[in-house]
């Protein structure tokens, strides 16, 4: 219905406006001109082909994680664990990639690596998923814990032989397992770390937003997220659908490692890709589960990330995290207002179209 779309658009606009305001205040506090800094931010990102490439590079893992969080959210679950699922998947494919023969063809190596990444992420998400499904333990607390455990496992894995002697990074993965950089096809992107994992992300995005709602599992997860009581009354297995949603979400979060390990570094080191899982939450909140929304939100946060570097000489790039936080809060506040408004109207006069 029109009014719902308007309300939704309003909270997005509010979020962006609040983000801009926060940005302006921070810049002003540093004694700089907001307009000038905004110019610098845009110039440093979309102003050059290289900058645009870097934005895409930064946006790719964020997009993966945004999709992952979205898949959880539509089943009513908060997957705070995308961060850890990505980390574990990175460790696994770093190990798998390094053990592949040097001559393994890409046609074999890439799907194998992607499969391993998805399975690793899914298995890591299965821990909180089973805790939730079998025991009813809240997924937020358990995924916070699995994130921290994943962090510690990095040190364990690197310490126990994943790291090359005398370094804190894993060995290079086989050449065939690497995803080529975009500069190989678009010379103007020279120097940018943007790589073909972005196409993987886009395919996953389409699967998640177009195919997934049309699958039986995806549709039932959505219905369970909206009203578990009614679903249980009609004999849909609610715990099972919830566990599945978290596991699929974990698989997508695991795929984010393709952007970092396979597309960027070609090996894994501690901290690679850190923060993408949390930014993914912001992307999912802002992207409203729409294909274009998720892309734009990922690009926005990618721009802030890369733009922070461009501004670093004037204001600390970490201030972009504050802007992100303000955007998240403003969007959530807008949503809460919309919810309260809708709850007061038990039966809207006009009928609304659905958005599964």
């Amino acid at each position: 219905m029109k009014r719902e779309h308007e309300a939704e658009a309003l909270s997005v606009v509010t979020g962006l406006a609040a983000g801009w305001l926060a940005f302006a205040v921070i810049v002003w506090l540093h004694g700089e001109s907001p307009r000038e800094m905004a110019g610098l931010l845009v110039g440093g990102t979309w102003g050059t082909a290289y900058g645009a490439g870097q934005v895409i590079f930064k946006a790719t893992p964020i997009l993966f994680c945004g999709i992952a969080v979205h898949i959880g959210l539509r089943a009513g679950l908060f997957n705070i664990g995308a961060e850890g699922q990505m980390t574990i998947a990175s460790l696994v494919i770093a190990a798998v990639g390094a053990s592949l023969g040097a001559s393994t063809p890409a046609l074999l190596a890439v799907p194998l690596m992607l499969g391993c990444a998805a399975i690793a992420g899914a298995l890591w998400a299965a821990v909180p998923a089973l805790l939730r499904a079998k025991l009813g333990a809240h997924e937020v607390i358990s995924t916070i814990m699995t994130n921290r455990i994943a962090d510690a496992l990095v040190g364990v894995a690197l310490g126990l032989g994943l790291a090359e002697k005398g370094t804190v990074r894993s060995a290079d993965i086989a050449k065939g397992a690497r995803l080529p950089r975009l500069e190989a096809f678009l010379p103007s992107l020279r120097g940018s770390a943007a790589n073909t994992s972005v196409f993987v992300a886009l395919v996953v995005l389409l699967l998640a937003t177009v195919l997934w709602p049309r699958s039986r599992a995806g549709r039932e997860q959505w219905l369970v997220g909206l009203n578990p009581v009614a679903c249980a009354a009609e004999k849909i297995s609610v715990p099972r659908r919830l566990a599945e949603a978290l596991i699929v979400s974990g698989a997508v979060a695991g795929l984010a490692s393709a952007a970092t390990v396979m597309g960027y570094k070609g090996y894994y080191e501690g901290g690679l890709g850190a923060g993408a899982g949390f930014t993914g939450l912001a992307v999912a909140l802002l992207g409203r589960g729409r294909t274009s929304g998720l892309i734009l939100a990922a690009l926005l946060f990618g721009t802030l990330d890369q733009g922070g570097l461009a501004l670093n000489a004037h204001i600390p790039r970490e201030s972009m995290q504050v802007v992100q936080a303000v955007v998240i809060v403003a969007v959530a506040l807008g949503d809460a207002r919309v919810r309260a408004f809708m709850a007061r109207m038990p039966r809207p006069a006009a009928a609304a179209k659905a958005q599964p």
Binding site: I26, L29, H30, F78, I80, V127, L131, L135, G136, A137, H138, V140, I141, S142, I144, M145, T146, R148, I149, D151, A152, L153, V154, G155, V156, A157, L158, G159, L160, F278, L281, L285, I315, P316, E318, S319, M320, Q321, V322, Q324, A325, V326, I328, V329, A332, L333, D335, A336, R339, A340
Partner: protein, 308 residues
């Protein structure tokens, strides 16, 4: 206990007690907030902000006491923000917590750069000057126990227990956490009680932040390093009870001390020790859900629910 005592030398005990202060303060903050019914995963960011504020105030005024106060005030402000967003703004407590952690991580760096033109650490401060000098285990232990912040953390734990059990505010706070509906029908202003509780909890966690940076005699960016989440874990393992939470914090701090004593050992071993608190919490969650064993208690029944 005797086995533990045998392992723990006086210096290990001293390190454990020293490391436990931020955990204990943050955990008490978590207890106060969650017992009132507001999920608080913003403890991490609150610790970090408190740590910076404490150093900044101490550096500017030259007074350690004022610094500690500054840390508590900053923590209270974050708590207030969290409370207003969740209780008045009705946004999800998880979303608010994540945003506040993010804002604290970025914001402290921004302030650090603005104040001291550094992206990694503040100038060093003296902190509290007290007690015995010397490098022996006994002297360390005396210093740890006599530390004003250690005493403050113990006092805070006792105060939280006392306030929850014996005061009107504590009674109402618990009622809000257990059943916001029942509390509201008994004439309790649930929203106001919760805002006060979360604000107070933030101040306690801010105190923990002060302890963190005073221990290091400076602020380092990202120095909370997951301690807020460990404190949250302690709260859960302790079944949301202040006394047990303090004990859980000491146990987790002992792991810190153990990790510190592993110098020269492989990094893998360090990290195995580092993950133990989180693994313990996962087990506690599982046990909690199974309702097996009396050693884990259920969370407040009204956690995350609004009165209407």
């Amino acid at each position: 206990m005797s086995a533990l005592a045998a392992i723990f030398s006086a210096s290990m005990l001293a390190q454990t007690l020293g490391a436990s202060v931020p955990y204990i303060c943050a955990a008490q903050g978590g207890v106060v907030s969650e017992r009132s019914g507001v999920v608080n995963i913003a403890l991490e960011g609150t610790l970090l902000s408190g740590a910076l504020a404490a150093v900044a105030v101490a550096h500017a005024t030259g007074s350690a006491l004022l610094g500690v106060l500054g840390g508590a005030v900053a923590g209270g402000a974050i708590g207030m923000l969290h409370a207003l967003l969740v209780v008045k703004g009705r946004i999800d407590a998880i979303v608010s917590g994540i945003a506040l952690n993010l804002a604290a991580a970025g914001g402290t760096r921004v302030v650090l750069r603005a104040l001291y033109d550094s992206s990694s650490n503040s100038p060093s401060i003296e902190g509290f000057r007290f007690g015995a000098t010397g490098a022996g285990g006994g002297a360390m232990l005396v210093r740890a126990v006599a530390s004003p912040l250690f005493i403050a953390s113990v006092a805070a734990s006792i105060a939280v227990m006392f306030v929850l059990a014996r005061t009107r505010f504590g009674l109402r706070l618990r009622a809000c956490g257990e059943s916001p509906f029942a509390a509201a029908s008994a004439g309790v202003d649930v929203d106001r009680t919760r805002v006060a509780a979360v604000c107070l909890g933030g101040a306690l966690a801010g105190l923990g932040g002060a302890a963190l940076s005073f221990e290091q005699h400076q602020f380092q960016s990202g120095m909370s390093g997951g301690r807020g989440f460990i404190a949250l874990a302690a709260v859960i393992v302790a079944g949301w009870r202040p006394g047990r939470a303090a004990l859980a914090c000491v146990a987790f701090a002992a792991l810190d001390a153990l990790e510190g004593s592993l110098q020269g050992e492989s990094r893998a071993l360090h990290d195995v020790v580092a993950m133990l608190p989180y693994a313990a919490t996962l087990f506690a969650l599982a046990a909690l859900s199974l309702r097996k064993g009396a050693w884990v208690a259920a969370p407040p029944a009204g956690l995350g629910r609004h009165p209407d």
